[in-house]
Symmetry: C2
Subunit: 408 residues, 2 copies
């Protein structure tokens, strides 16, 4: 039963209260048993019964819950660095997609890759994320875009879910874009998704996600797809309002989505509707930065009463970095979150956005003992200094993580 | 005489030509002697006379010149993380400064720190920068703001210059803001800078820099200060047009500055004048990001005929990260540089911006053998992927750098 003592500041990130209330404990200690938290509180109040256990010293550092990356497109092959240069020179997301780049480019590479190669690559990313303190990850399909290829990506993610110590949340994103085979038959693709892909994904995918945007899916298509998904036991998530206001906030509220993500152009009415419906608003600042979109108005979402989460959107096009702490810094500089708000957004609210708030995202008795020990004395200092990796050490289910080599 | 072979792509970054012409050599080799480049070219053209030398294998990786951070405020004490939160909540740079924060806050901490503490702290930063591949650094005074305290900061920087293997370029920035002791006597401070601080800094400071902005110095004060500095053998640099268009581009051209930095609000006329006068335009994207300023229009500067450099502006307020590769990524995403342009901007053009282009910044015979070996196959892949640290290894004056612990 390990005891982590001499924590300078323990930020527990319990969900209740305002987003800037991270429920800290100064000069704290934490006790684990069988990978779960059993006690935490002021170090000098550590019950004598624990004091003789296996002790670790946090060296007076800041300790926060393991981070949760609640929006990633983890399972992909290839890169699209060329598009980065094109965008710097002024090409838009839709122009690049129309020229055969974008999601369909990654779809081609992903379809060609072996299942083993996809697992190995995603595992390398998960190792690298873990070194940054990211202890739970949501992972979407969406680069298969055929019945077989989407099933294969769910198997890849399921394999990671089974073999990794990090919680992995599989999300079906067959409605990412219309695959080229259905270019002139979008109704056909929506029907295939509803009649075959969703039923076959039942029990494997925790959520169904739809990208609602020009060049992707309409709100009506999203309603139909998410309705079918709900009948098969999947929660709803949405990519909305990224490139223009498509009424995505209202749609997310209407369908009772667990989260709506991107939201750069969401209206005030959309924000209020999301707040009433309890939809988590997920900020994806890398995508705003890389696509040169206006930042998601996180402050306005908070004022409207929403919970705001922060995620990387890690994917090979619009958000090619898995560096969640840097995304948190960007959420502060671009979207006006305070460091405390960004931290709650990348822990307990992120866990809620992908349905795992009962097992992780905060330091609470019974939850997984996932912790990030930081070379910083406050969340402000950590996120503003923005070093390559501020993690002093990472604990996964009560065990210290060994550092691994960098992934390629 | 070490030979680095099996380089997948060697980006030499010779100065001539357009900024996007980085003069690459595919499948290359490089030979050093006494810390300088003596040969580079295609690996299969390696002269037989070198082939038997001490060989290192770059593993097919991308190799670029050691990066040059041409604008830092390296010598400081304390942090200002609290201001990061205030800015997220909407406080402006000038509001924070008016409330006793900002530069004067760091001035107070820096005056109180011992010379040894300042050297140790800056050395820790330089170690961390070196791990990222930053092999040469410009360092400004400007947090002393008294005759003695500015001299002390120059000694700190001079100490680093003498003891480190990285080239360090000392810049006098006594004209950072008006110190509190001269709040009601700005003419008195300008006089002290011109009559005592500059003469005493002659032979120590390579450049004199002036912050021209509301709350700092006027263009006329800058003219007077830089004229005196020139008479004492210092080159001119300028912080201009950061928060508003203050005619800084025109001023930089008029005084023949080596560089003008920030430039978020520079007019087209200012850009053209800088191009005619050969003033390097230094983009500081962290400062734009952290202060929520519009990005410097790098593309327009290139179109006007300017060389554009990229630097961190590392300081404890507006740009608290020393991560130059991230600043390069931001220069692409925010300011529209291509990765090749950002790379030339953080190597040979950065070296020019701080007066060391004759000794480093590109792979050319006779220059310092400072190299960055990257876990990437192209500059596009490196800068778009934005991992914590893509450096596979770093070479300083022909010797591999050993990795050190993280600084606090």
């Amino acid at each position: 039963m390990p005891v982590l003592r001499n924590i300078g500041r323990l930020v527990t990130c319990r969900a209740e209260g305002r987003q800037d209330d991270v429920h800290p404990v100064e000069r704290a200690a934490v006790v684990f048993r069988d990978g779960r938290f059993v006690w935490h509180g002021p170090d000098d109040a550590l019950p004598a019964t624990y004091a003789a256990e296996e002790e670790f010293d946090a060296g007076g550092r800041l300790v926060v819950p393991g981070l949760v990356d609640c929006h990633t497109h983890l399972a992909f092959a290839g890169w699209r660095a060329d598009e980065f240069t094109l965008r710097a020179l002024g090409a838009s997301y839709l122009e690049i997609a129309a020229a055969g780049g974008g999601i369909r480019s990654t779809m081609r590479a992903t379809r060609e890759a072996s299942e083993e190669a996809l697992v190995a690559r995603a595992s390398g990313f998960l190792d690298a994320m873990l070194e940054l303190g990211v202890t739970a990850v949501e992972a979407k399909t969406g680069y298969g875009l055929s019945e077989d290829a989407e099933a294969r990506l769910l198997r890849v993610i399921g394999h990671l879910e089974d073999r990794r110590d990090q919680p992995i949340v599989p999300t079906l994103l067959a409605a990412h874009v219309i695959p080229p085979e259905f270019e002139n038959d979008r109704e056909g693709w929506v029907r295939l998704v509803r009649e075959r892909i969703i039923p076959q994904s039942a029990g494997r995918a925790r959520f169904c996600d739809v990208f609602v945007e020009t060049g992707a899916f309409t709100a009506d298509e999203a309603r139909a797809i998410l309705s079918t998904a709900s009948a098969h036991g999947m929660g709803a998530r949405l990519h909305v309002d990224q490139l223009a206001d498509g009424g995505g906030g209202l749609l997310a509220a209407e369908v009772g989505a667990t989260s709506a993500d991107h939201l750069e152009h969401t209206s005030d009415a959309g924000m209020r509707a999301m707040a009433r419906a309890g939809v988590v608003a997920v900020a994806l600042p890398f995508a705003s930065l890389y696509l040169r979109q206006p930042p998601m108005r996180a402050r306005a979402f908070l004022d409207a009463g929403c919970r705001v989460a922060v995620a990387t959107d890690f994917n090979p096009g619009s958000a090619p970095s898995y560096h969640l702490p840097w995304a948190m810094t960007l959420a502060c500089t671009m979207s006006g979150l305070t460091p405390a708000e960004a931290l709650k957004g990348a822990t307990v609210h992120a866990a809620r956005a992908c349905g795992i708030e009962s097992i992780c995202g905060s330091v609470e008795t019974g939850k997984r003992a996932d912790l990030l020990v930081l070379d910083a004395d406050s969340e402000e200092q950590w996120l503003y200094h923005a070093v390559p990796n501020a993690a002093h050490s990472v604990w996964l289910a009560g065990r210290p993580v060994q550092r691994s080599p960098r992934p390629s």
